[in-house]
């Protein structure tokens, strides 16, 4: 094996095609897009070199800063909730639901396979205030409340988006984390129990450290997925009301393709990429500590 991997021709044959395709569809567009950040304009009116002006504009653009704020808030809140709920469900699957667990796992996982737009339409109907009144508002009104306009208020819209995405995604994280938990040897858990560990103490000292690698993967999956959220928000609120629920991805799309500012759109994309990178590195670094050492 070592002799074969030392042969550059074998390496080229084995890796070449995949590397070429990867470079063509990933690396070249990334560098190309990075190049655009130094230009202003589009393919119709042409490009003009503007240096770092797009970056200066980004940090002076209130809509961009609002988008950063929304994106981070959304990513942090949803990551905490969906990984937390997923972990809770996974613990439930492993330690409580011995019988019928497969049925419940399937039911909880079911929203994951639904099309995003269908889920968004479902939630629009749930929280509808006009022209028809949705079930949520009917419930509120049956308790004497007014007919709330969920999608007309920034905070209410934010929480409806969170609720929808949590419902849609927690089943995935539950299954992912469940796969990590079932790998913990039964003998280890049994010996911990014999030593007197149970309940929260067992989870804190044994289960959590041993499931940390998969928990870390789930966190990175989640934070990167939520930072790049696009379709669910477009389908549910289209970034509204106003631009209150506009994430960076949607703002990037509008800037590049609606406003015809490819350079500025690429700048927003680059900032988002750097945000993903920084957050991922931060998670890696913060979890280097060995939790089994207290």
């Amino acid at each position: 094996m070592e002799r074969m991997l030392g042969d550059w021709r074998a390496v080229a044959i084995l890796l070449g095609p995949a590397l070429a395709v990867y470079s063509a569809v990933m690396l070249v567009p990334i560098f190309w897009s990075t190049g655009y950040t130094l230009f202003e304009g589009n393919a119709i009116r042409g490009f003009e070199f503007v240096g770092l002006a797009n970056f200066v504009e980004f940090f002076e653009d209130p809509t961009a800063l609002q988008s950063v704020s929304f994106t981070l808030r959304y990513a942090i809140v949803l990551t905490v909730l969906q990984v937390g709920a997923g972990y809770g469900l996974a613990l439930l699957y492993v330690f409580a639901l011995r019988r019928g667990g497969a049925v419940i796992r399937t039911l909880v996982f079911f929203p994951v396979i639904l099309p995003t737009v269908a889920v968004a339409l479902l939630f629009r109907r749930f929280f509808e205030a006009a022209p028809a009144v949705g079930p949520v508002n009917s419930l509120v009104m049956s308790f004497g409340g007014e007919n709330p306009d969920w999608f007309g208020q920034p905070d209410a819209s934010f929480w409806v988006i969170i609720l929808m995405d949590l419902w849609r995604s927690m089943g995935f994280y539950a299954v992912l984390l469940y796969a990590g938990l079932v790998e913990i040897p039964d003998e280890l858990l049994e010996s911990a129990r014999i030593d007197g560990a149970s309940g929260f103490r067992l989870i804190r000292s044994i289960v959590l450290p041993l499931s940390l690698p998969v928990l870390l993967s789930a966190l990175i999956f989640s934070i990167n997925g939520t930072l790049k959220v696009f379709d669910t928000i477009v389908a549910l609120t289209n970034g509204g009301p106003g631009t209150a629920t506009t994430p960076l991805t949607v703002y990037m799309f509008r800037t590049a393709f609606s406003f015809g500012e490819y350079g500025y759109g690429s700048t927003i994309a680059l900032v988002l990429t750097l945000m993903c990178l920084v957050v991922t590195v931060f998670i890696f670094r913060s979890t280097r500590r060995d939790l089994t050492k207290g």
Partner: protein, 441 residues
Amino acid sequence: MFTASRRRGAIPVLGLVGAAALTLTACSGGGTPSGTEASSGSDGDFTYLGQTQNTVISSTLESLAADACSAAEETAPLSVDAIDGTTWDQQLQVLAGNNALSDVSMAGGTPALMQEFIDAGLVVNLSEELEELGVSDRILPAAASTIQALYDSEDIYSLPTELNIEGFWYNTELLEQAGVTEPPQTWDELAAAAEALQAAGIQPFIAAGQDGWPITRLVGNYIFRSLGADALQRVVDGEASLTDPEYVAAAEAVAALGAEGYFGDAAGSIDYNTAMNQFLTGGGAFFYMGSWALGNFNDPEQNQIGVENIGFAPFPAVEGGEGSIDEVPANVGIPVMFTTSGWDDGSAAWLECIAQHYGDAALSESGQVTGFVVDEVPAEQSELTTLVQDVITEAPSSVLWFEAAFTPEGTSVSQTNGGGLATGSLSGQEFMELVQAANEG
């Protein structure tokens, strides 16, 4: 093994790739896309690209191909295609960037985008071609002036396949129930009528707040009535700002209607089709809309309140304002443009025939009022259609709409925030500050 020295060696390679990408970026699209020179002869076909939401243009062209324009059809057979219109401008930019525009297509929805196309030489100057073909008199002067105003040019770069007026359509029965005997002539009368309707348990206004523009049209029209027909052009020219008190007053007037709840519950959640359905099923009294809705009004399946029960009132005057109630808000819908890359003898034959016959065909087959001269008025035409034609004929002048001269970003910000005025969640001052900032880039 991948050693440290090899890793160091990879860095210059990545740098070279980056530099190459930058060079390619700088070289690409740096000027007018290639292929914009007009060609002689015919390339064999005449391609049309429209929006799936609008079938009138494509069906009228197909009808012309089978009948009045059969000669042009022989020169260059018509080929029709359509794509979704919700991201029309974006798709048009991509097509233009790839030099893949059809011979004729619906124009950009944002006038500023069309301005870019014109500056880049992508679209045919139709004034010159119509003159050369001897059919320039087939475009109604009102339509021609609207297009000229739209693109801030003395020439015409698109054909007016629609000519719409806008105003308040109202449900006469609901107004009578609320004791409103006359359609309002002034803004104060409109507000008073809304108050009376609300008191009678009738929703005064129906508007698609989700789309935004039906609300922002009210702001623009108020400005035209209070400050005159050139008020928004002064903003574009930098002589005035939307945040000036007299401009903010217009947005505040509309926001005041929203704060009173006159647009109903959650107006920001209502889209175009829902609003249309609400009005045609008696869900509210006033409906600001363009005359393109005549097709819906004339359809007995959609119209449950009866076409005879619908009246039209021009946008009311503002007391003491410089504008006149006779200045009709007008537009040409989304007109069609001819691209220079596809311009040839076949396209010229089609242009001549469209100018001659499109107005008659669209009116007789779809009830569509266009900006072309009509030679034969259909015998069985609805009273509302006649009313629209009369208003167009008698109007001494017209005005465009709020965002007509704004940048694409200004248009987007205006329309995404328009719903906030109807729900009362956004003040007029806040709205105007947002739009002004977006326009300034």
